[in-house]
Structures are given as structure tokens and as C-alpha cells.
Amino acid sequence: MRTVLGALGERTILVIPPGCAAMFSGYGKETAVKVAGIQGCLENTAAIAAGIRAGLEVQGIEDVNVVAFAGDGGTVDIGLQSLSGALERGDRIIYICSDNEAYMNTGIQGSGSTPYGARTTTTPAGKRNFRKDMLAIAVAHRIPYVASASAFYPEDLRRKVLKARDCGGPAYIHMFMPCPTGWGYPSEKSVEISELAVKTRIWPLYEVVNGKYRLTVTVNDPVPVERYLRMQRRFRSLTDEDIAAIQAFVDAEYEKLLERVNH
């Protein structure tokens, strides 16, 4: 959050749904953000943001950022419809999905962004299907700026937030947000986990500017996914076959990504 607001400044209005990010919204009289903001419902973050943008436009206010900051549940599951509508209409909002790969705030339930094999309270034996490719969904709406990001790659994130601000239309940023409690690893390893996610090519860092793909961090000698997976208790039920399947999947997805980059 501080990277995002640090980049965008005070002339920003935030829309935050219930969830982990609502810790910023506050409790009672107290709030942890100094900018204007609203806590909406779980599924209408993009819709409220679209309304805010329309209200500002009609008053001739052009220089205020409208930022939606939602979790994976509120984006890829219940929030998908209102996001899709805003992207299709071209509403000028910056939508940041803070993805900790489950409904963490309510106690680690599985979401459409939970990766293959992960244990959550609603996938106790490990999730048996692959997650949604939310970035592909965003790109399919033909918006000017789409990017993957990572909370612990702050400079990369900062540059992407500024590009999102300046792209002239809706922008979508999908941000890796590791959760020690939900994923089962010691909290001090958050930076290492984030770097491994990128270095295993599980979470490639790239951007799509008007449909053109570009890697923002190149990974030439990938680390085997096993190192990343074995660090997290949520993957403890993975067999060697599962890990091989995941490795194959990650390799295939990365190949497809490279094709798009080199197209």
C-alpha cells in the first residue's frame, strides 16, 4: 500500500473491499490511510471505482487517481463481473489485485486464485485444479495496461503503478502478496518466498502495454519449483508426481509467455 500511495500521492481516492486490505480502511474512528477512501462490498470494488471516476469527470476533475485495491477473492471470484464491466467500458481506474491466493481474512478458504495443490480450509486435501489466469482475462478486455507485480519487488511495482496511472484508461495490476499464516512459512522468509516465486517462473513479472508483452524481470536460469513449494506447509501434501506436474505446467506457461513477448 505504501508503495502504491507513495507513487500516486495525496490526490488519490481508494476503494477497498472487506478483506485483509480493510485493515487499512480502519475500525471505528481510526483509519490507517490519510487519503480519501471507501470500503464497499466484496464484489463491487470496480463498480464503485467506476462511479467515483464518473463523478469526478463530470465535475471536470481530471487529476485525481481512482484506485481499487482488492484481494484475490474479491477480484477473480465474486468481483469478476464488476471488474469485467469496468474494463470493457474503459473506465479510467487503477485496479490492483493483492493476491495472497486464498480468502485469508476469513481464515484461509480457497479462491479461484489458489494454486494447484495448495491446502486451504475448503481444499483440505490440496486444490485439484489450476488457478484462473487473471492477467489473461484482463488482457482479453483490450485495456491499455496490464501487469503482474510483487509486493516485495517495490521498485518494479512503483514503476508499474506510475505506468498504470498514465496509460489513459483502465489499468490492471496483479500483485503477489505472500501470507505467512495462510501459506505456512516463517514470516521473515517473505522476501525469499517472493524472490523464489519469480525465480522459479511461477510468478513472472511482466507488463502488457496496449497488447504488447514485455518481461520486466528476466529469469534465464530458473530455480526448480520444488524449492518454492517445499518451503510452504500449504503444499505439504504434494507428491513427487504433483511437483513434476506443476513444474511441467509452469514451464509450459512460461513458454507461452515468451512466445507472446517475442511475437
Binding site: R2, E30, T31, P154, P180, S187, S190, V191, E192
Partner: protein, 103 residues
Amino acid sequence: MSKLHASATQPSSGYRYVYGPCATVFQATKTGTWRTHRPVVNQELCNRCSKCARYCPSDLFSMDRKDRSVPVTIDMEYCKGCGICAEVCPLKAIEMVPERSVR
């Protein structure tokens, strides 16, 4: 014709009453009570690279990057003891010690 309700008191000068849920006080729960370990900075070893400050999830570090006589401080009212600072410090100048320890 029904009576109209009004407030029993007036707000203080320069203030107004707001109806409905809103938050205007920049403050949060003192999460420092949550920690089981605390970071201790080796002030002499630290070269003020500020990697710890940049990676601290709660933005709790204060330091003067040019003047090493100014100590690096951490807002211990909020520090949850996550240990990321100790982990990322390139010089290993931060040690996580148990909260009850003397240091």
C-alpha cells in the same frame, strides 16, 4: 406535524457532526503487543543502506542515511517482529531476539 429531531449538543468550534460510518483519525491498534521476537540493530555494523526500511511491511524504520551518529530506530509500538528486516540485511546487522530478552 411531527417534531424534528436535533442534536442535544453543539460540536466544538471548527468541527461538525457526521452521520454514518467514517474514520478520520490516523491511528491503528498498537500491534507491537503481538510480537514474540524483537529486532535489535547493531548500530556500528549497519552501513545505513536502508534495505530494512524499504522492506519493512509496516514502514517503521527511521534513519539518517548520511549521518551514522544518528541511531537507526524502529517504532516498537507497531513492530510485529516479522523478522524480514533481519533476513534482508546484507550485513546481518539486525538480530531477532526473544521479546522478553534483556537486549
